[in-house]
C-alpha cells in the first residue's frame, strides 16, 4: 500500500474540462473517494494517476517516487473502468490471468491465484464463460478481480457501480469496503453519487465545475462542516439563508433581514468573518425541528406554512414557505406509527434549531 501525492497538477483540454493547480494527498492504505459533478475533471485526475493522460504541468508521486513520466504499463496501479472493459474474446479465467501471464509467472501459480480470487468473488462457476454470457454485476466483479489479482499498490475505480441497479449497488458498496479492509490497498474511488462516496470513503475530496478541489476531509467533516455553499449543496441537501454577520459581546448573530436575527456558533474564526460582512448560513433539513405548537429551549426559530409534503418511508419531507416567500426543507424521521402530532398541508408551523447545528459559509 502506497500513498499518492498530486502536486500542482494542471491540465487544459479543448473540451470544457480544466484542472487547475490540483494539490491532493491520498493517504496509503485508505479508501479515498473523489466526488464531484459530471465533467468536473475527477476522471481526468484518475487517468493522470494511471498514466493514460499527461498533465500539462505538475507532478505525481507514489510515496516518494515521482511517476509522472513513467509509462502506463510500468506503474503498479490498476484501474477498474465504468464499462468494465473486459476483453470480449477471452473468457473469465484469461481475463483475470492477463496481468499475471504478462509477468511470466509459472502456470501453476497463475491458476492458483486466479481460482482463489474467483472463489472469493463467487465467480468460480463462471470461470470459462465469455464476458457476453455474464450479467452486469458478474462482469463488474470480473473487472475487479482482474485489477487486483496482480496485487497493485493502488487501485483506481472510475464510477464502477454506475451501470448497476440500486440494490446491487448497495451490495457491491459493502463488498468493496470489506475488500479494501482486507487488502489494505490504497483505493481511489471516483463518483458523482454522494451517497456512494459517503458510504465507502475513509477520506474524500469534493471537486467543483471549475476543476478545483473545494474541500478535503472525512465524510463526516464534509457533511457536517462544509466550507462552501457548493459543498453544502452538493453533498446532501441543505437550506441556505443570506444575511449579515454581527459579532456581539458573548456570541455572534446573523441578521437575515425580514426573517429575523439568528444566533450562530462559530467553532473557528476565519478571516472572512468580519463584522458586517455578507455571509450565508447552512442548516441541514434533518437538523430542524418542526411543530405546530411553540417549543422551548431552542436558540433559533422561524414561522412558516406547509407548502408540500413528500413521504420518503423512513422520513417525511416538508417544504415550508416563510413569510418572505423563501422556501425551507425539513426532514422528520417517522419514529412512530401513530404520530402524536400530524402536520398537514397549509398548516402554520414553527421551525426550531440549535445554533450549533448550523454552519456559516463565505459568500
Amino acid at each position: 500500500m502506497r500513498s499518492i501525492k498530486l502536486k500542482n497538477l494542471t491540465k487544459t483540454a479543448s473540451g470544457s474540462c480544466v484542472l487547475n493547480q490540483i494539490n491532493l494527498h491520498i493517504p496509503a492504505g485508505k479508501f479515498f473517494a473523489l466526488l464531484g459533478p459530471s465533467g468536473c475533471g475527477k476522471t481526468t485526475i484518475l487517468r493522470l494517476i494511471a498514466g493514460l493522460d499527461q498533465a500539462d504541468s505538475g507532478e505525481i508521486y507514489l510515496d516518494e517516487e515521482e511517476i509522472s513520466k513513467k509509462p502506463i504499463n510500468q506503474r503498479p496501479i490498476n484501474i477498474v473502468f465504468q464499462n468494465y472493459a473486459l476483453f470480449p474474446h477471452l473468457n473469465v479465467f484469461d481475463n483475470v490471468a492477463y496481468s499475471l501471464k504478462l509477468k511470466k509467472l509459472p502456470k501453476g501459480i497463475i491458476e492458483q491465484k486466479v481460482f482463489q480470487i474467483l472463489e472469493s468473488f463467487h465467480l468460480a462457476s463462471h470461470i470459462y464463460k465469455l464476458p457476453s454470457q455474464l450479467s452486469g454485476g458478474q462482469q463488474q466483479r470480473v473487472a475487479l478481480a482482474r485489477a487486483i489479482v496482480g496485487e497493485p499498490d493502488v487501485l483506481l475505480l472510475d464510477e464502477p457501480l454506475a451501470a448497476l441497479d440500486f440494490k446491487l449497488r448497495e451490495k457491491m458498496l459493502i463488498e468493496l469496503i470489506e475488500l479494501q479492509d482486507k487488502l489494505k490497498t490504497t483505493f481511489v474511488y471516483v463518483t458523482h453519487d454522494q451517497f456512494e462516496a459517503l458510504t465507502v470513503a475513509d477520506q474524500m475530496a469534493i471537486m467543483n465545475h471549475q476543476g478545483e478541489i473545494e474541500q478535503i476531509g472525512t465524510p463526516k467533516q464534509i457533511y457536517e462542516f462544509p466550507i462552501s455553499s457548493f459543498v453544502a449543496r452538493f453533498v446532501g441537501t441543505t437550506n441556505i439563508l443570506n444575511g449579515t454577520l454581527h459579532h456581539l459581546k458573548e456570541e455572534s448573530e446573523i441578521d437575515c433581514h425580514e426573517l429575523g436575527r439568528f444566533k450562530v456558533y462559530i467553532p473557528q474564526t476565519k478571516e472572512w468573518m468580519k463584522e458586517g460582512s455578507s455571509i450565508q448560513m447552512s442548516i441541514r433539513p434533518e437538523k430542524i425541528f418542526i411543530t405546530k405548537k411553540p417549543a422551548q429551549n431552542f436558540s433559533n426559530h422561524l414561522k412558516g406554512s406547509v407548502h408540500s409534503i413528500v413521504y420518503h418511508g423512513r422520513s417525511t419531507q416538508y417544504n415550508i414557505i416563510l413569510k418572505n416567500h423563501t422556501r425551507l426543507q425539513v426532514f422528520e424521521q417517522n419514529e412512530e406509527h401513530f404520530p402524536q402530532e400530524v402536520i398537514d398541508y397549509d398548516n402554520e408551523v414553527f421551525l426550531y434549531w440549535q445554533k450549533e447545528n448550523a454552519v456559516i459559509l463565505e459568500k
Binding site: G51, I79, A85, F87, P88, Y98, L102
Partner: protein
C-alpha cells in the same frame, strides 16, 4: 395490397436474376449441344471440362493471383493498423484509399498498363498480382480501419494498465478482435480478384490467362455446353464461399 405487389415485385426481380443462371445449369446436362432443345441427361460436358486443355492452367493462375494479392493486401492492411496502434496518424492517409472505389477499373487498368510498359516490366503473373493487390487494398484498408476504430479504446487502455506494452496489446487484444473482419474481408477480396476481368484483361499480357480471360475466349468461339458446365461448377463454389462468409459474419459478432 401493398404487400402483395411488393412480393410480386421482389419475386419478379429474383426471377430476372436467376432465370439465366437456372437455364444455364439445366442445359449443362443436355445430351446434345445447343441449339437443340432438351434431349436427355448427361454428364459428358463435365467430363470434357475436366480435360479441357488450358482451363486448369487458367484456373490455377486465377487461384495464384487471388491468393497472393489477398495475402499481400491483408498483410499491408494489418501492418497499417499496427502502425496506428503504435501512435501513427493513419486517419488522414485513409482518404487515399477511397479513390480505389471511385476510379473506374478501366482507367486504373489502362494506367497500370502504361506504367508497366514505361518501366519495361513484362506482363504476366507478377503484374497481375501487383494490379490485383491494388484492387484489394481499396477494400482491405477502409474496411479494416473502420472496424479498428469501432473497437473500444478502453480495451487498449485496460491492457496497458495491466502491464502490457503497445506491441503486446496489438497481438493479444487488437489482432484477435479484428480476426473475424480480417477473414471476411480476405474472402471478399479473394473473390473480387478471382472474378476480376477488366484489370486482368489489360495487365495479363498475351501469354498468361486467368479464368475470366479463358471464359472470354470460350465465349468468343460461340455457345458451348462446356461453358455451361464450367458455370455450374463455379456457381457451386461461389455459393459455398457465400455460405462460409455468411456464417462467419453472423457467428462471430462478439463486440
Amino acid at each position: 395490397m401493398l404487400k402483395i405487389s411488393g412480393l410480386l415485385m421482389v419475386a419478379s426481380t429474383y426471377l430476372f436474376l436467376y432465370v439465366p443462371i437456372v437455364v444455364l445449369l439445366v442445359f449443362s446436362f443436355n445430351l446434345e449441344a445447343f441449339p437443340s432443345p432438351w434431349k436427355g441427361f448427361t454428364l459428358k460436358w463435365y467430363y470434357e471440362l475436366m480435360h479441357a486443355p488450358y482451363l486448369w492452367k487458367a484456373f490455377g493462375n486465377s487461384l495464384i493471383v487471388a491468393s497472393f494479392s489477398t495475402a499481400i493486401s491483408l498483410t499491408s492492411g494489418i501492418s497499417l493498423i499496427f502502425y496506428a496502434t503504435q501512435g501513427g496518424r493513419v486517419g488522414k492517409f485513409l482518404a487515399l484509399f477511397y479513390a480505389n472505389l471511385v476510379i473506374p477499373e478501366t482507367i486504373l487498368a489502362v494506367s497500370l498498363l502504361g506504367f508497366f510498359s514505361l518501366f519495361s516490366i513484362p506482363l504476366g503473373l507478377t503484374t497481375l498480382v501487383l494490379a490485383h493487390t491494388v484492387l484489394g487494398l481499396g477494400f482491405v484498408v477502409p474496411i479494416l480501419y473502420a472496424r479498428f476504430v469501432e473497437l473500444d479504446p478502453k480495451l487498449t487502455e485496460a491492457s496497458l494498465v495491466l502491464g502490457a506494452t503497445s506491441i503486446q496489446t496489438f497481438f493479444k487484444i487488437i489482432l484477435p478482435m479484428l480476426l473475424p473482419t480480417i477473414v471476411t474481408t480476405g474472402l471478399l477480396v479473394f473473390i473480387i480478384s478471382f472474378d476480376d476481368f477488366v484489370l486482368s484483361y489489360f495487365t495479363a499480357g498475351s501469354s498468361t490467362q486467368t479464368l475470366s480471360l479463358y471464359i472470354l475466349s470460350m465465349i468468343r468461339s460461340g455457345v458451348s455446353p462446356m461453358v455451361n458446365a464450367l458455370s455450374a461448377v463455379l456457381l457451386f463454389l461461389s455459393s459455398l464461399l457465400v455460405l462460409i462468409y455468411f456464417s462467419l459474419k453472423t457467428r462471430t459478432r462478439i463486440v
